[in-house]
Symmetry: C2
Subunit: 412 residues, 2 copies
């Protein structure tokens, strides 16, 4: 297929990324399911709790036996036993009787409410004084009050949090169906790139993108697999892509910086069976020379070699891509990760292009201040100094000192 | 040691938790260091980059040879070769000469700047026209511009993010010194508690706290180890604590709900060698009956049995505790995780007590709305329906509908 340069607007790119679908599903033990995405709804097969429980320490009674009780005119009830935790009580509550019960204990037959221990006074072995009336079902958790049988507890596409594991445990599911973690093959290209423990000499630089991109994959719930460092050579790159493409769910090639490398990556990609070029350039800075293509449902990404450019593209676009591949529903909910700050100085921005500014957050007297971290996009230190990114819309010409901005925090 | 009931205010509890220190340190490969906390400063042993690099595609020149150049009066330079990526150039730039160079290429001897390719026009094999003057060092990254030798790149106590792994890789460190992950022994107590795959009958409930607390430990960077389910029995609990206390960095016992269980836990704790009771009750709701003690630098925690109470205490206090045990510096920076919303209705709150309200976030027309999720603190579904917690200060009597509140998001 012949390619033509198709620089896309950010929102067009999001639409394209949203067309990808989850890579697969698997069943994992509940202990390993934290942070995973449900591939099926969780539907309760039972009521939780399965029996009436007391929600307080006190006395199980017939509510009607407390009607009219007050401090000045307490009701007298006969204490006829105690509910033991973890057992079905054998004792029954009959007219005028009370049974001692702890929080979580099972309500004995005949009782329809619990008087809190604070409103009871034990006069002798057999008698309690109740100084307050209760309504029927007061301080009682009924079967299904927590979760009712047949209800959808958690929906497909939900990312599992600690409390979600709790409810799943409460419903006796020891295994959970989740989407597979997308496997990301990472290739670093460039004649100048050497492994971090390799021999560096003049002209060589160590492979940084492998680590930043791999770690980003992990924070986004994917599994990075490092394929290798590839020189700027058509055959070598083709061979490396061929060797990983069947094993990975997506392939990310971070480009060398030499003139023509981008063309080289594209030329190799176009030689792949069924390759379709979707994006050749995005109107953002940094990160413009990004390539997005597909072979079937498998996204193939060409990233700029500059570490800051690659990371901005990953943070803004590839996180979204991985959320699609991992089946995460309601990804827009992730905007909750944005926090507000005032920008510390004027920043100009070319209109027609979305700018991502690296910022450091500083506690100010009237809230957080976002101070831009300037520096060339090849410098890793600019990212290390920054806490997050501020997006400057393509339809504005910049932001003014003191203006409120939303900061997309970097995660760890 | 004889205990007395010492209900503490929230800020007193924070102060007590802050007295704990990291449990240990270890060296891990850089690939496994994401999210870990540095136990030593990272100090650069070299300049990054180690040589002058071009930050643009263009031509390496002597800047003075471009002075006065303009579109109408371009400077003519002789093209004398090309810098190959990954190699130290053998060619030199002499008076009136230019050498082709790619982004990231090493600057040849004699050159002191790079003219962007956009401002150059190659007339023939040997001649280029330069239509713009450059200043010395323009488009050049000098040795140490990214990181200079001897500088502190990252500080002890810093939590490692993807870009931090990048700079560490760039500096050729393949291993990193980090604090050990705190090992948390988790014990669920209660005669009514059964394992999730155990036999449940009337009166029994499945162990939920094990999963919620264990998963919270994981999200807070600790390693949960489940010690077991323990009946409400002095000897059984003492035996179980004894069996784990030497292996764990902290022990968390979530209480059964029966009357007197809390006393039982405390009685067992007080039998431990060197046990010191620090907190017996916190003025918060839910979560008041929390116990915090220590044997040496090892915190021993007694948590309420109710799942929501246990989780609120873990989210608010035990996260802070684990940050101390894992050496995380600037934990207050974590407040950046708070997001603003308007509360959907009036909520009363007793003064003299800090209330934590479970809330669900809803996208409103004028920003996020926090809607309270009401329900007894024993119901796990209230946590599943909620997105986070809103703290109501102990010195107020509640919040009013529409009031701005800060929501502490639940994490996964």
């Amino acid at each position: 297929m012949k390619s033509f340069f198709t620089v896309k607007k950010p929102e067009e790119v999001f639409k394209i990324l949203d067309s990808f679908t989850p890579c697969g599903a698997e069943v994992v033990p509940i202990e390993d399911s934290l942070g995973r995405i449900l591939s099926r709804d969780i539907i309760s097969r039972e009521d939780l709790p399965g029996f009436c429980r007391s929600s307080m320490d006190g006395y199980a009674v017939k509510a009607e036996n407390t009607f009219g009780a007050s401090e000045s005119l307490p009701a007298m009830l006969e204490l006829s036993g105690e509910v033991l935790m973890g057992k079905a009580p054998e004792i029954k509550v009959t007219e005028g009787k009370a049974v001692k019960i702890s929080t979580g204990g099972m309500l004995p037959e005949g009782a329809n409410g619990v008087v809190m221990v604070e409103y009871c006074h034990q006069l002798d072995e057999k008698t309690i004084e109740v100084s307050r009336a209760i309504a029927p079902l007061e301080n009682v958790i009924q079967p299904g009050d927590d979760v009712s049988k047949g209800s959808t507890v958690l929906k497909k596409g939900h990312k599992l949090r600690p409390q979600d594991l709790g409810v799943i445990a409460g419903l006796a599911c020891s295994e959970v169906s989740v989407y597979s973690k997308p496997g990301v093959a990472i290739i670093s290209t460039g004649d100048e790139i050497v492994p971090i423990n390799g021999i560096t000499g003049l002209g060589k630089v160590r492979d940084i993108n492998r680590y930043t991109l791999g770690a980003l994959c992990s924070t986004f719930g994917a599994e990075p697999v490092f394929a290798g460092i590839c020189p700027d050579d058509y055959n070598a790159l083709k061979e490396m892509i061929d060797s990983v493409i069947d094993k990975a769910d997506t392939v990310w090639i971070s480009g060398g910086s030499s003139v023509g490398t981008r063309d080289l990556t594209l030329k190799v990609l176009e030689s792949l069976c069924d390759f379709e070029l979707l994006v050749h350039g995005i109107s953002i800075s940094p990160g413009k020379p990004t390539i997005i293509g597909r072979t079937g449902n498998k996204p193939i990404i060409g990233l700029p070699g500059h570490v800051a450019s690659a990371m901005v593209v990953a943070q803004v676009y590839l996180k979204r891509l991985l959320s699609r591949l991992s089946g995460h529903r309601n990804f827009s909910g992730d905007n909750r990760g944005l926090i507000e700050a005032s920008i510390s100085q004027n920043i100009e921005s070319a209109s027609g292009r979305e700018d991502y500014i690296r910022v450091k957050l500083i506690e100010g007297e009237e809230g957080l201040i976002a101070a831009p971290v300037f520096g060339k996009s090849g410098l890793i230190s600019t990212l290390v100094d920054a806490d997050g990114l501020v997006r400057i819309d393509m339809n504005t010409e910049g932001v003014y000192q003191g203006q409120k901005v939303e900061v997309m925090l970097f995660t760890s």
